[in-house]
Symmetry: C2
Subunit: 137 residues, 2 copies
DNA sequence: ATATTTGCAAAGCCTTTGCAGGGGA
DNA sequence: TCCCCTGCAAAGGCTTTGCAAATAT
């Protein structure tokens, strides 16, 4: 579940609307991260950028990902099986299934897994997500 | 939701039953981690051990935690807000609520949050847990 | 002209590893 | 005795930071 792919112009507008200067590096990263990427970590973003952009440093990739998280265009995920941050361009409520063997992450829609809270009112829930672990056949 | 506190003898037996040599350091760590600890990270385990045990190295703490995870006495958790591993001595199905402001983790029982999966059969779910984020008042 | 961003390298955490010394079976 | 465990220090992986040069407004 991703944003449909955006043109360069559209990415520029998205960034500007969030108060982010649309530099060439940031646009390049966004092209991948907001469109084609599927739960990438920083290495994957860097690898894609190295192939599709003249020059970008790892520091700039980190910097850009952090900015995108700050303005809410993407979210950071962390799962027990890895200490690397993983990024998700789907910022609405949904869940994740991780294949034990391959570590591949599958997005699971809210329709597919239903969560009913009976928590007392002193827990003000702002967001939630289910992590499912198992085998995908 | 924790194991009720165990005597040294009981911890020794637990470790032996898992094929782990009950050394003094391991017993000390277990006293904290299997009983009193509430979602500790390694630093907290080390700090506790420094106060309650003559001498233990950070490497041994890491080593012991990894062993406890391997034999299933505890589980590793990771949450988006921190890159540190967090350990949970409750190994049965339950959920977690994180207070946005304090980062305190609350255990949520399966009774309090119900999960219903409508996933197709090619997702073989072995375990699952819900992460809730918000404010605790 | 001014402020922001980039790239590089260094530094900072968290965690693992190598190895010599020590202790338990 | 032999093997495993511990502690220390070094190394490794991920991420952030400092700063000078380059770029954008």
């Amino acid at each position: 579940m991703k944003n449909s792919c955006l043109t360069t112009k559209e990415i520029e507008n998205v960034l500007k609307s969030k108060g982010i200067q649309p530099t060439a590096q940031r646009i390049a990263v966004c092209k991948y991260v907001l469109c084609d990427a599927d739960h990438p970590n920083v290495d994957e973003v860097k690898a894609w950028a190295d192939e599709n952009f003249p020059k970008i440093s790892l520091a700039t990739v980190y910097n850009t990902m952090n900015i995108l998280v700050e303005v809410g265009l993407i979210k950071t995920l962390r799962f027990p099986h890895s200490d690397k941050a993983i990024f998700d361009n789907n910022t609405s409520i949904h869940h994740h299934f991780i294949d034990e063997k391959t570590s591949k992450i599958y997005d699971i829609s809210s329709d597919e897994v239903e969560v009913k809270s009976k928590l007392s009112n002193d827990f003000e829930v702002k967001e939630y997500s289910v992590l499912l672990v198992g085998n995908k056949v």
